[in-house]
């Protein structure tokens, strides 16, 4: 039997005042395997640790039990102590006799009994501990950033500035994302594109950044430090290397379709760049709407292109890249306001959503910044802004607050009042939420200086009466129903995850919540990491936020990646699942329960009765496994075990506890 040393900590009086440590020591001495018992006033102190090292050497200890505080506190400390003494650090067990015992059990006798039981279980368990070794994996110092909105751009720039290569993948023909669609940003009212476009250009020009626009993530394999990603570069039908971005093709193209960028408030051509400042400033052909692709005739763009850059026969290209880390910044969609039938969105032309309003007030938008209502292009003399369309509504929408709508609606109302001096702006709200620097002041100014009227109540109905819209609501501050007659209504839709957010999450192997937002590893302490090591989150794909928060999170993700890339190798935790291949039947029922996709089939070849046969077994990817152990329970024959928490160890602890309780029983 292995030689066990037990170190009983007093923790000053924290333990010793309640637990009779001497009595515990006396009983522990009799336990099988125990060859050395020692009490320390503070085991975690320098002298305490030194005495462990000394005892290991003097008594030839092979296993160590420390009965002290919670292992969550000092397990790493004592593992290092063992390592210093030349023992495998995982030959340690701790008995938590402070948090779980002395601090909560004032009855000295009972606390002492329990302390002994805890040590007894630890001794039995430590005898089953196996030597474990940390592994190491090399790190490919290149990052993939998924999504080219402000979050992706910021993360990419930060990582690239730290000296690492970045691959920035964007689905749309240009980077820029939602922020490019906005007019001004609250609360400072600086122009969105004025602050965004320089960053777009920086990203495109950066020597360390490779830009794949009009491209999508196809596949991800591997694990932290060693991801293999496949990106589909969709056919632009334009040779980017030849195109000069002159824009002649767009001018001549005869086909007009509603512009996605203008959210249907304006038109674009079938060959187009979404907006003039697009990066790269090279058009794509929208094959679904292009006359040539539909009828085989036209080719006007090809004729007018002096650079001869049009490529009707271009095909999608799959690009494979090796990266060490992935930043996900895939952004969001807006809630479909037509779910609220009572608001008439989609039915009454002058009921629009907030993003459409952004395009209407944007100087580069379809109305060149003049607020004209869609039905008759007249300037509305009055506008109602309706908050929480979808947000905070469990009946029809989503339960959460979308965080930015209060502020941008206040901004919209302010901008409207600024442009239409004699106009009236009503904001229908449930609560105005202004948690941000200078946000509350901005809100105050909107009513005091600009005369925006705030009505606390969620509209119950919006309907057309002649050329006016009637907004019915209850003013809950006055306790009275109100009906506002306005000429335009702007709905503030909830921010919702991208339509395909769940698929993205599944491709990446990260978890997502019931709405489809990607889950951070810890809501407070690990807000930019995911539970899959090496994958980080930035921006609204993780949850609604405004631009400052998005940029902050993106930089945080960038810093995480840079920190990871500061080393050539990283150590892996050995307390992960392990397959006993001799036992494994290869049924792979362990595979679906693994949250990290760490289990794959592997073919092993072996000699049976002189013949070489091969069969499939489960195999655990040490880079992916996080050691939860869910697979061990799915494994019927016990081939899958969790190092550090093996079946033997758990059973031994249980058996020891209960066997010890009835010593007279046989």
């Amino acid at each position: 039997m292995k030689r066990v040393g037990v170190f009983l900590c007093w923790c000053g009086s924290n333990i010793a005042a309640t637990v009779d440590v001497g009595k515990v020591a006396e009983r522990v001495r009799l336990l099988p395997g125990v060859v050395h018992v020692e009490e320390n006033k503070y085991t975690c102190s320098e002298p305490g640790q030194a005495s462990i090292i000394k005892a290991i050497k003097e008594h030839g200890l092979e296993r160590v039990v420390v009965a002290a505080c919670s292992p969550r506190l000092h397990e790493p400390t004592f593992r290092r102590t063992l390592e210093t003494a030349g023992l495998n650090p995982y030959f340690l067990e701790m008995a938590n006799v402070r948090e779980h015992c002395s601090w909560v059990h004032p009855d000295r006798e009972k606390a002492t009994d329990k302390a002994f039981d805890l040590v007894r279980m630890a001794v039995a368990r430590v005898l089953k501990n196996e030597p474990l070794a940390r592994g190491s994996i090399t790190i490919e110092k290149r990052a993939l950033v998924l999504g080219g909105g402000i979050a992706g751009i910021q993360a990419a720039l930060d990582i690239a500035d730290a000296g690492h290569e970045v691959i920035l993948v964007e689905r749309e023909p240009t980077i820029g994302g939602r922020m490019a669609q906005l007019d001004k940003t609250f609360p400072t009212l600086d122009c969105s594109s004025c602050i965004l476009t320089p960053k777009m250009v920086d990203a495109a020009k950066h020597p360390k950044i490779t830009l794949y626009t009009y491209s999508e993530l196809e596949k991800v394999e591997g694990y932290i430090g060693n991801f293999h990603v496949t990106v589909r570069k969709r056919a632009r039908s334009v040779d980017e290397t030849l195109c000069t971005g002159c824009g002649l093709c767009q001018t001549k193209c005869p086909t007009k379709v509603p512009s996605e960028f203008d959210v249907g408030t304006g038109l674009r051509k079938a060959i187009y760049t979404p907006f003039p400042q697009a990066v790269p400033n090279k058009p794509v052909i929208d094959r679904e709407n292009c006359t040539y692709y539909k009828t085989g005739k036209c080719r006007v763009c090809e004729r007018v292109c002096e650079a001869k850059a049009i490529r009707f026969d271009q095909e999608d290209v799959l690009v494979e890249e090796r990266v060490g880390a992935i930043v996900v910044a895939t952004g969001f969609d807006l809630f479909d306001c037509s779910v609220y039938g009572e608001y008439g969105y989609g039915l009454y032309p002058d009921v629009i959503d907030a993003l459409q309003f952004e395009r209407l007030i944007n100087a580069s938008g379809p109305t060149e910044g003049k607020i004209k209502r869609p039905s008759d292009h007249e300037i509305p003399r009055s506008v109602a802004f309706v908050l929480c369309v979808g947000s905070r509504d469990e009946q029809k929408g989503v339960s959460y607050c979308s965080r930015a709508c209060c502020m941008y609606s206040v901004k919209h109302a302010t901008q409207y009042m600024d442009k239409v001096k004699d106009g009236r702006a009503y904001v229908f709200y449930m609560d105005i939420r202004t948690p941000g620097k200078a946000y509350e002041e901005f809100y105050k100014r909107s009513s005091v200086e600009y005369g925006v009227q705030f009505i606390r109540g969620r509209p119950s109905k919006i309907y057309q009466k002649g050329d006016k819209l009637i907004v019915k609501a209850e003013d809950t501050l006055l306790g009275r129903p109100v009906e506002a007659e306005v000429e335009m209504v702007v709905l503030a839709p909830a921010m919702v995850p991208k339509r395909d957010a769940a698929r993205t999450a599944q491709t990446l192997g990260v978890s997502y919540d019931g709405f489809g937002f990607l889950n951070e590893a810890h809501p407070k302490l690990r807000p930019v990491e995911t539970n899959t090591a090496g994958i980080y989150l930035a921006g609204v794909c993780q949850g609604p936020k405004d631009i400052p928060d998005t940029v902050a999170q993106a930089s945080a993700a960038g810093a995480k990646v840079a920190a990871l890339f500061s080393r050539d190798e990283m150590a892996t935790e050995p307390m992960i699942a392990r397959v006993d291949e001799a036992l494994c039947s290869g049924c792979l029922w362990c595979k679906p329960v693994c949250p990290y996709k760490a289990i794959e089939a592997r073919t092993v070849t072996e000699k049976v009765h002189g013949r070489t046969v091969s069969r499939e077994v489960a195999s655990v990817n040490a880079g992916l496994c996080q050691g939860c152990g869910a697979c061990t329970v799915a494994c019927r024959d016990g081939a899958m075990n969790l190092q550090g928490f093996t079946n033997e160890q758990v059973i031994t602890a249980v058996d020891e506890l209960l066997a010890g309780l009835r010593p007279a029983c046989s």
Partner: protein, 168 residues
Amino acid sequence: MAESAATPAESRPPGTAGTAVEKPPAGEETREWEPVIVGFLCNWCSYAGADSAGTARMVHPTNVRIVRVPCSGRVNPRFVLRAFQRGADGVLISGCHPGDCHYSTGNFYARRRLLLLKGYLEYLGIDPRRFRTHWVSASEGQKWAEVVRSMCEEVKALGPAPSLGNLV
């Protein structure tokens, strides 16, 4: 005595909770019977929650002996039946709240397994009050203390778990 027990019974020192009713150790007064409850706690939420209870000095009964596991998804139902067989008066499993699992989905799988187990234990004749599952987060020291208190009271009222055979 089970063959699997690691050591011969005689070598064990006397006197811990749970022994009094059956055979009071020599030289000690007969104490009130105390149930023994085996607690399987996930490392990230509930074990930390029990730690918080300690840090906040929330006094609760001594009867629960905690076996730390990384996740409630690591708890094999066999462990639970094993504990009952070897004489536990109760088994308590505690993990992160559904949706808050450190490993994102471990406790969802645990929930399915343990739901089945719970029904089955009752089917086997084990009083369902002896087997409890609670979701306790790292910050819920108070809840942990409450859970322990109420379970101990309940199991104590039930008395020693009936022995199934000659194992215990």
